[in-house]
């Protein structure tokens, strides 16, 4: 589908995310299309990492933007950027899907997707959607690089697989208190790192 009025489309391209989101809330599919062009790649990248394969990622991408279409009025610019809102929808929907899959009988070959808070700097030197996102990516990678493996793993299992601390403790065969401590220390380290470098976190 293309924009019905190309001239209107060009004007939309000038608008900021919050304004576009307001227009989406009022029923403008053209505004949604502009937001899709801005953020579909990061949403797809994230969804693919969450679900483990590109096809699932593409399916989720559509669902995320449908959700954004339906719920744009719930977005509030005061509470964070549009990209953050979209990515939190992506995370919630991914976790729902992951938990659904977990309740189904597991096939022998359905290994968990590789966890991805790691080694991100080596990959994809390709063009970023914006310099800002690229800078944030680098900073996150550096911050994650400061974490001991065990702390990072505890955080990853919660964030990427939707496991509770108790489930993580069972999976890793470690005491619950140990997992809680690792998660706490790891997150505090990340927080301090990012705050020290005054990264604008969304």
């Amino acid at each position: 589908m293309t924009l019905t009025d190309p001239k209107a489309g060009n004007e939309l391209l000038e608008l900021d995310d919050a304004t576009l989101a307001r227009q989406v809330a009022e029923g403008s599919a053209a505004a949604l299309e502009v937001l899709y062009d801005r953020y579909s790649r990061i949403v797809l990248s994230f969804a693919t990492r969450m679900l483990g394969d590109r096809q699932s990622g593409e399916e989720l991408l559509q669902e995320v933007f449908l959700r954004a279409w339906q719920q744009a009025r719930n977005y509030s610019a005061e509470r964070g950027s549009f990209a953050t809102w979209l990515l939190s929808i992506t995370h919630n929907m991914s976790i729902d899907e992951i938990r659904k899959r977990r309740r189904r009988p597991q096939r022998a070959d359905s290994a968990d997707p590789v966890l991805m808070l790691t080694n991100v700097r080596d990959e994809s030197p390709s063009v970023e959607q914006s310099a800002e996102l690229g800078a944030l990516r680098d900073t996150m990678a550096r911050a994650l690089g400061t974490l001991p493996e065990a702390q990072r793993r505890a955080i990853e299992l919660a964030y990427y697989r939707g496991l509770t601390q108790r489930e993580i403790a069972e999976e890793l065969d470690e005491p619950l208190g140990t997992i809680k401590t690792r998660m706490r220390l790891g997150m505090r380290k990340l927080r301090d790192y990012l705050e020290t470098y005054e990264v604008e976190l969304a």
């Binding site: 599919a29 559509q62 919660a158 939707g162 509770t164 601390q165 976190l201």
Partner: protein, 289 residues
């Protein structure tokens, strides 16, 4: 943070809360949604009125919000994905929700289980309260159902709990009091919630000794004590429980929790300190029944 859903909830006690510690210890697990249901309930409840803890949550939320930006970028989606999306929108498959603003999916405390009446007098009193409560629950169910299209299962459950809490409050206020230790070996802490509008109370706590019996008593102005319920403590020492008062809480000065020997283990002072009964101050270990 979501906006605070239940502004009528107030902190009636000006004592420092014992549960900032618990909340601060579990912030990261909370933001990563890795807590057990009960733990999450306690944190959520605390966050409703504790601004400093809310600010700490916001700091951690900012970190988690940045996680998605750390994944390596894949190639963008092909034009067919966008075409299919825009077709689905054009076909009205995903009609935008109607214009009435939707309630946000908010996380709130867990649904406490109604406790079976402990005495016949109690049973009689509570029966009169069941009808309005049942009506509230029905309304809540319909409301939760209307959200089903855009919230996941857990959000619906949690949204229902907000309504339930509001049903407890009956549109009035829920006053919160600290649960204070009254025995040297007691480790538990928590909060007592009281609704004046329909005589309901709620205990939330943690680190209670699950191997010990704990009874909850209301203590009136005249010193009369009335058993409310026995606490149901789970294997982790957690409690999340609702009960009803046989009399208006206005007549109650304190809520006591005793052990199996009737020895005072925890207390919540409902009345202002200066008008507390002398019995309050004698503290440790007097059998109360």
């Amino acid at each position: 943070m979501n906006s605070r859903p239940n502004e009528q909830i107030v902190q009636a006690s000006n004592r420092p809360s014992p549960d900032c510690g618990f909340t601060l210890d579990n912030l990261e697990g909370y933001v990563l949604d890795a807590l057990d249901r009960f733990e999450r309930g306690v944190v959520e409840h605390h966050l409703r009125w504790c601004d400093p803890c809310q600010a700490e949550v916001a700091r951690v939320e900012r970190v988690v919000a940045a996680f998605p930006f750390a994944v390596p970028l894949v190639d963008g989606p092909g034009p067919d994905v966008k075409a299919s999306l825009m077709d689905r929108i054009a076909s009205g498959e995903a009609e935008q929700a109607v214009s009435s603003p939707k309630p946000e999916p908010v996380r709130v405390v867990e649904l406490p289980k109604p406790f079976p009446p402990a005495t016949s007098r109690w049973r009689y009193a509570s029966a009169a309260l069941i009808a309005p409560l049942a009506l509230s629950l029905l309304v809540m169910g319909v409301w939760a159902n209307s959200l089903r299209t855009d919230l996941n299962e857990r959000d619906i459950e949690l949204a229902s709990q907000i309504q339930f809490n509001q049903a407890i409050a009956g549109g009035g206020q829920v006053a919160l009091y600290s649960v204070e230790r009254s025995c040297p070996t007691c480790e538990g802490s928590g909060q007592l919630g009281m609704s004046e509008s329909n005589d309901m109370g709620m205990v939330m706590g943690w680190n209670f000794d699950p191997d010990k019996r704990h009874d909850v008593w209301g203590v009136g102005r005249d010193g009369e004590k009335m058993k409310m319920c026995e606490l149901e403590i789970d294997s982790t020492g957690a409690v999340m429980q609702m009960f009803m008062f046989p009399e208006a809480p206005a007549d109650l000065m304190d809520v006591y929790i005793t052990d199996e020997h009737g020895v005072l283990t925890y207390v919540s002072h409902l009345a202002a300190e200066d008008d507390a009964t002398p019995e309050d101050s004698d503290g440790l270990g007097a059998p109360i029944s």
